[in-house]
């Protein structure tokens, strides 16, 4: 009797402790061998490659196969969803088991570079005849440069444009948007396409859609999100608030689905099911819209609107980089792969396959032909670009921003209050970075 209750308490004590010990073992990943060898589990002569976008996997696999054919080096690609990707990378970095080659993003690059986690590519790039710095956009190099050393080779660039549903426009008798439209035109169009019974909305900009969504409004109005020296937030700048007020109009007038609906379904799903007529999206979404039967038939792309007052039409832009682990076992092979992925033929193939726009200059023509949409709109957006705002702790302040702005969507805060709060929390975190 005593014994039994003792056993019970031991078991329960262990359960309680088990929690503290629990690490981050949740990662939904799908792995597949690209080399066709059929082996599961990374054998020592395979290069492990990690990415987060399922849509790009098939195209990249083809390119990796080409690499294997050319060099005999086998690769193994694994796709881990965005959230888990960074958990995995963090754990890998700390435990000394990063993948051999992986994607880097501006949100995180500085932390990895400054902590010496990435392979320094500077000398290798200098010695390479395939990678010439001038062939890629300088801003993208900038994201992956620390103390004048290069830590990744640009993979792609992305810009923003508006996707619209031709079918819904036809039904409402509204003419398709053209490249010379303004934000006021967009608001007006959205009003016409919104049905009062809630079965259809003019547009959708999700609460966390900053890069493809409301950041563009801010820069069109001449506002900013982060100062050039990364010390000050621009959220409380009057021009920033002016830009955000356009979003506020859409929220207030009910031109967008509710925050609840968007958080449950996402812009992509809502657009692909014909619930919203317009949605601003980055060029990285093409593969998904191409694969979807409904959007392949009914959707098309137009440039972002201009601002009537300032005449500006800014697109936020960003680009991923291919990076390698500093303490990897196969750094020589890893560099060979990165060099190959950054080389003109591979970058061209990436564009042709429609994986994404490539970073390599002069490959965009191939990309425009990769899908049956007006992809030229994305290229036209390159005339006036601003790099996606980032600092050392981007993730931290961006997540807090998203939380605050969600409260504007649900009506708990006014846009101006939210902007003030976002500025405040962001300034706090930026000050912390300087320490």
């Amino acid at each position: 009797m005593k014994k039994r209750s003792l056993a019970v308490s031991v078991v329960m004590g262990l359960m309680a402790l088990g929690l503290v010990a629990c690490g981050g073992s949740k990662s939904s990943s799908s792995e597949s061998t690209a080399s066709g060898s059929g082996e599961q589990g990374a054998s020592s002569d395979e290069l492990s490659v990690a990415i987060w976008d399922t849509n790009q996997e098939p195209g990249l696999k083809e390119i990796l196969d080409d690499f294997t054919k050319e060099t005999g080096i086998k690769t193994k690609i694994s796709v881990v969803k965005w959230n888990e990707y960074w958990t995995m990378l963090e754990a890998g970095a700390q435990g000394g088991s990063l993948p051999d080659v992986f994607w880097m993003h501006s949100n995180e690059s500085e932390r990895y570079m400054s902590n010496d986690m990435l392979l320094d590519l500077t000398d290798k790039i200098k010695a390479s005849d395939k990678i010439k710095v001038e062939n890629y956009p300088g801003d993208i190099w900038g994201l992956y440069t620390y103390n004048d050393h290069y830590y990744a080779v640009p993979k792609d660039v992305d810009t923003i444009a508006i996707w619209y549903n031709k079918k819904l426009f036809d039904e409402a008798g509204v003419p398709y948007p053209t490249s010379d439209w303004t934000w006021d035109d967009l608001t007006e169009t959205a009003r016409k396409l919104t049905k009062s019974d809630g079965s259809q909305y003019g547009l959708a900009v999700k609460m966390d859609n900053n890069q493809a969504g409301y950041y563009n409004l801010i820069y069109d109005k001449g506002g900013y999100v982060i100062s050039d020296d990364k010390k000050k937030s621009g959220w409380d700048d009057p021009k920033t608030i002016e830009g955000m007020n356009i979003l506020d109009t859409w929220i207030k007038e009910g031109l967008m689905p509710s925050a609840e609906t968007m958080s449950e379904n996402g812009e992509e799903v809502l657009f692909q099911s014909g619930k919203v007529a317009m949605v601003p999206q980055g060029s990285w979404m093409i593969a998904s819209y191409k694969a979807n039967e409904y959007t392949a038939q009914n959707a098309d792309i137009v440039e972002l609107p201009k601002d009537a007052k300032t005449g500006k039409r800014v697109s936020l832009y960003n680009g991923l980089g291919w990076a390698a682990a500093k303490n990897g076992k196969h750094t020589e092979e890893a560099w060979k792969l990165i060099e190959y992925l950054g080389s003109e033929p591979a970058q061209k193939k990436q564009a042709e396959l429609g994986v994404t726009m490539s970073a390599y200059k002069g490959t965009s023509d191939a990309w425009v032909k990769s899908a049956n949409f007006n992809l030229q709109a994305y290229l036209n957006m390159m005339d006036d670009m601003v790099i996606r705002p980032y600092s050392r702790s981007t993730v931290s302040w961006e997540n807090a921003d998203n939380e605050i702005i969600t409260k504007v969507y649900t009506g708990e805060l006014t846009m101006e209050e939210a902007c003030k709060q976002m500025a405040e929390q962001m300034n706090e975190k930026l000050a912390e970075e300087q320490k």
Partner: protein, 301 residues
Amino acid sequence: MAEEKKKGFSFTSREKNEFIWGWLFILPTIIGLVVLNIIPIINTIYQSFFKTGDFGRGNIFVGLQNYQKVFADKEIWQALLNTVRYAIVEVPFSIAISLVLAVLLNKKIKGRSVYRTIIFLPMVAAPAAIAMVWRWLYNSDFGLLNHIFHSKINWVSSPSIAVYSIAVIGIWSILGYNMVLFLAGLQEIPGDYYEAAEIDGATGISSFFNITLPLLSPTIFFVLVTRVIASLQVFDLIYMVIDNTNPALGKTQSLVYLFYRYSFVNKNIGYGSTIVVVLLLLTLLVTVLQMIGQKKWVYYN
């Protein structure tokens, strides 16, 4: 041997043998516990006194600062409240329902093992898969629930009900497991008690309350305590069902969810560790209270 005896060891060769084999048998478990539980626990407690640097480097000792911040943080208190709300719904309902099911399925009825299997099935499915299915059932625009009831309820995105919707998933997925434990307990109760009660004229219901419940109380107690601990640690359902832009997130996120967010998303491992140490203390406190309380209602014989 002879030498040992001289030194005063009183082991016989048999005792020595048993000693070695005994330790050998539990060694794998001990190694597992130390490597997977004990060391990480100590590490976590250690980290909770630090402002951790990137990738575990450059930690700065800050004493109790993290704890002060945790106790002053409204978000933490809200998360605690959410966690308690979840537990208050999940634990009693999952126990009551599975107890009834166990009693019913302990009788000799046709297809008993089929029913048992069906009810146990959710336990076999991966939590992620369960969450995905329920997420679609609950979806306010395309979900089956709203479609059947012709309603427009935001099951998982309305701050006032989302936590309960999640608790329902929790109940559904744990029923089978609880039921199996109860079945095992029920089968330990000798049949003569019921026969005697029947002769004395007891109805099925009164023998349930006067025989089954008291004799099953050790099992109920075990299930209760383990469920309370598990429900205080709820994470995966919330993580899978509630998107991080969900307006209901603030009113549903549990302490472990916050721990995840601080440690793995915001990379503030020191603060995340502090949250989880606080949860550990809380769990221990609740469990100790339950151990004391059991004397009032648990009969071991």
